[in-house]
């Protein structure tokens, strides 16, 4: 103590403090300045400024509107002069000619479509007429020069898009589109139509209470099949929403995550011993195993997926193996660190009772590393469910594939919404399940300590 006091030199200490403050000042101004400069560079290089021009807000609008509503197409096919009424314009959603909804009716040779706000659209033999109450009558006529629009207001308002080959009218009441081959009216309704039963099912358009009483009634709608069973099968095989296929896709995604994670854990456990210095004296084996882990992790799931899908083709097995290979590297590293950190005393105690190598591992090492391993495996199981969604999009399997396909066709946004909701439910469920299992298997406090 005395030595320190005699060596105390105020000017040297002042210099030291001055240096410290200068360094602190540099860090507290330099780091934010560097971050800001980096963000500006990225802002420019990603052309975020030009994004507003590129973004298609009409796409966003369609997406949002379709997410909670559906449209019904009333179409006149000009070649054959036939009118069809179909949900989303799909074959599977076409109303039979004798069972049109009440807002579409036939008057002589004309078809009249009632829209919201007392607007009507008529397919007359000579023209397509769109009567909008506070605007007037819009007539669209086929002529030798193409399609002509007769409007009470000239020039045409911006919600009419007219060319000689195609006229489209977009109003809150509904949409109208006329080409040489077809005239089409779209009317929007809230909700996901035909979610439970398609039009050809006897259970379509029945209320919940009617369905419940049908389910328990002995009178069979479809001979040879109980009503409840018929209902379930109509729902499961719903041709528009394909609930059965979607359920399989979700199952495939979870399967990929499960097989990949568990397979990787099984493969990594013995390898972890080979990479731990307290169990493998050979430097060469240790080095080799560790580089193997680095290689497996470094190649990354994306490259493994591509390489494996060339050999095994698209599907859940390829996805599982890609996750398995990547995570063997990750788990190997984590497990070997856990094994290196075990307490020697328990192993020495077992050795003193004459336990063999396997017994020492079983009773000396596994109880010590099990909490870490279980916690990590469960954590990765949840995280891999998300990875399996992406890998499914790359490799062609599971809900990821359905999602990419539905988005690429850019048609059925309500299906996209359905898939997104299911994906979120799936991930949340796996999250809850893995947290619950972690709590059950190693206790709540221990599971927090590991992370």
């Amino acid at each position: 103590m005395a030595m320190v006091q005699t060596a105390f030199d105020p000017s040297a200490r002042r210099r030291e403090i001055g240096r410290l403050f200068a360094r602190k000042r540099l860090i507290s101004f330099g780091v934010p300045a560097f971050i800001l400069a980096y963000l500006i560079y990225v802002f420019l290089s990603f052309d975020i400024h030009g994004l507003a021009a590129r973004a298609r807000m009409d796409n966003a609008k369609i997406l949002l509107a379709d997410a909670y509503s559906h449209k019904v197409h009333v179409t006149r096919h000009e070649r054959i002069g036939q009118v069809t009424v179909a949900i989303e314009g799909e074959n599977k959603g076409t109303y039979p000619a004798e069972a049109w909804p009440s807002w579409v009716r036939t008057e002589g040779d004309s078809t009249v479509v009632d829209l919201d706000n007392a607007a009507t659209a008529r397919f007359d033999p000579d023209a397509v007429r769109f009567d909008i109450p506070d605007f007037g009558l819009l007539e669209i006529v086929h002529s030798d020069d193409g399609i002509i629009v007769r409007s009470p207001v000239e020039p045409l308002p911006e919600w009419i898009n007219a060319s000689p080959t195609r006229v489209s009218v977009t109003r809150p009441e509904g949409r109208l589109s006329v080409t040489r081959n077809r005239a089409e009216v779209f009317r929007y309704f809230a909700g996901w139509e035909l979610f439970f039963f398609t039009l050809d099912s006897p259970f379509h358009a029945k209320s919940w209470s009617e369905l419940a009483s049908l389910a328990v009634s002995a009178e069979r709608i479809r001979p040879g099949q109980s009503n409840l069973w018929a209902m379930l099968s109509d729902f499961w095989n719903n041709a528009m929403w394909r609930h059965g296929d979607v359920a399989w896709a979700i199952f495939e995604t979870i399967l990929m995550a499960f097989l990949g994670t568990m397979g990787a854990a099984l493969a990594a456990f013995p390898l972890g011993f080979a990479a731990a210095h307290n169990f493998t004296p050979s430097r060469v084996i240790r080095f080799g195993t560790r580089r193997l882990f680095d290689f497996l992790r470094g190649v990354d799931g994306l490259i493994w997926t591509i390489v494996l899908s060339r050999a095994f083709g698209p599907g859940p097995l390829t996805g599982s193996l890609a996750i398995l290979l990547t995570d063997t590297g990750t788990f190997g590293k984590l497990f070997s660190e856990a094994i290196e950190n075990v307490d020697r005393k328990q192993i020495d105690g077992l050795r003193s009772t004459g336990a063999g190598g396997l017994q020492r591992v079983r009773f000396g090492v596994i109880p010590q590393v099990a909490p870490v391993i279980v916690s990590q495996v469960l954590y990765y199981l949840e995280s891999n469910t998300r990875s399996a969604t992406v890998i499914g999009a790359v490799v062609g399997g599971g809900i990821g594939l359905l999602l990419t396909q539905a988005i690429q066709t850019q048609k059925d946004w309500e299906e996209v919404t359905y898939y997104i909701v299911l994906t979120l439910l799936m991930v949340s469920m796996m999250d809850i399940l893995s947290g619950w299992l972690r709590g059950k298997l190693i206790g709540r406090s221990a599971s927090n300590a590991v992370h």
């Binding site: 971050i35 980096y38 963000l39 990225v42 290089s45 990603f46 052309d47 994004l51 590129r54 973004a55 298609r56 807000m57 796409n59 966003a60 997406l63 495939e252 399967l255 990929m256 097989l259 568990m262 397979g263 680095d294 992790r297 470094g298 190649v299 990354d300 799931g301 994306l302 490259i303 591509i306 390489v307 494996l308 060339r310 050999a311 095994f312 083709g313 599907g315 859940p316 097995l317 390829t318 599982s320 998300r386 969604t389 992406v390 890998i391 999009a393 790359v394 399997g397 990821g400 999602l403 990419t404 988005i407 996209v416 997104i420 979120l424 991930v427 949340s428 999250d431 927090n448 992370h451």
Partner: protein
């Protein structure tokens, strides 16, 4: 006296052995169940795959061999190819870096707002917790695909998607770190009238910063991988180039080899650097 004592000991021993046997039977049953579920799972996955496992296994090295032989044939082009795809690689790393940075900043705010004892509005703790859970649960690909449809391709959809997910994932880890922070400096600052921001900035952040940075480095590594794979699905960067390079027919395997090399080296470098700095940061504690 000895008679009853021995018999009591004997029954105790029998009970104990019965217990051990039952335990062994249960763990044996669980093991059998686990292995059969795993085996059944693999056979289902195999059946639903386009090509089977045993037919595919001999072909597993065909594609890498083809790739390597074409790369060797055109090895003179390799440096040029590496240089050609460097900008795409930088874009991928930039996506990951910015989303880690912005995600971590959001996560700091969210985690402070959702930690008991630190929160600005204690009543809103459950709300911020749920917000983090939701952000964490959304797979990046969902946001990326929807944003690609609205904004067109390019790095921004991937950037937003990864940032969103990172904010949730890091927020949860950060709030666990916050829970272990010492509250005394915060109370001291409160007693001299420091505002909430000052209490957090001067009282909490200096304690937790090393752990924050350590988790953020780990996230950066994860995000580089995520940004590469999202590129393959439609966002920009090296994943998009890889998709073109390996497509059937028009594929250029020498280019694909160059991309594989770049990606591999980047991931290994980031992996090693992040684990080195993480050990230093957390080891210093």
């Amino acid at each position: 006296m000895t008679g009853p004592a021995t018999s009591a000991l004997g029954s105790l021993k029998a009970d104990y052995l019965a217990l051990v046997r039952r335990r062994r039977m249960y763990s044996g049953l669980i093991t059998v169940l686990f292995v059969s579920v795993l085996a059944a799972g693999f056979s289902v996955a195999d059946a639903r795959n386009a090509g089977g496992f045993w037919q595919g296994l001999p072909k597993i090295f065909d594609f890498p061999a083809e790739l390597i032989s074409e790369a060797i044939d055109k090895s003179a082009d390799l440096p040029a190819n590496l240089l050609l795809y460097l900008p795409a690689l930088i874009e991928t790393v930039n996506i990951a870096a910015v989303s880690t940075l912005v995600g971590a900043l959001l996560a700091i705010v969210l985690s402070l707002l959702s930690t008991r004892g630190l929160a600005r509005w204690p009543r809103l703790i459950p709300f911020f917790r749920r917000a983090m859970d939701v952000a964490r649960a959304v797979p990046e690909i969902v946001i990326a695909l929807v944003l690609i449809f609205v904004m067109g391709g390019g790095p921004v959809p991937a950037l937003i998607a990864i940032t969103f997910h990172s904010a949730g994932a890091l927020g949860k880890l950060f709030s666990e770190v916050n829970e272990n922070a010492d509250l005394k400096p915060v109370e001291g600052l409160a007693s001299v009238g420091a505002s909430w921001l000052q209490r957090m900035w001067l009282g909490v952040i200096p304690q937790v910063a090393p752990n924050y940075i350590s988790y953020a480095l780990l996230r950066f590594e994860i995000n580089v991988r995520a940004s590469a794979i999202l590129g393959f699905v439609g966002a920009g960067g090296i994943g998009a180039e890889l998709r073109v390079a390996i497509s059937w027919g028009t594929g250029r395997y020498d280019a694909a080899a160059a991309i594989f090399i770049l990606l591999f080296l980047t991931i290994v470098a980031i992996d090693q650097l992040s684990s080195y700095y993480r050990n230093r940061l957390v080891g210093a504690h």
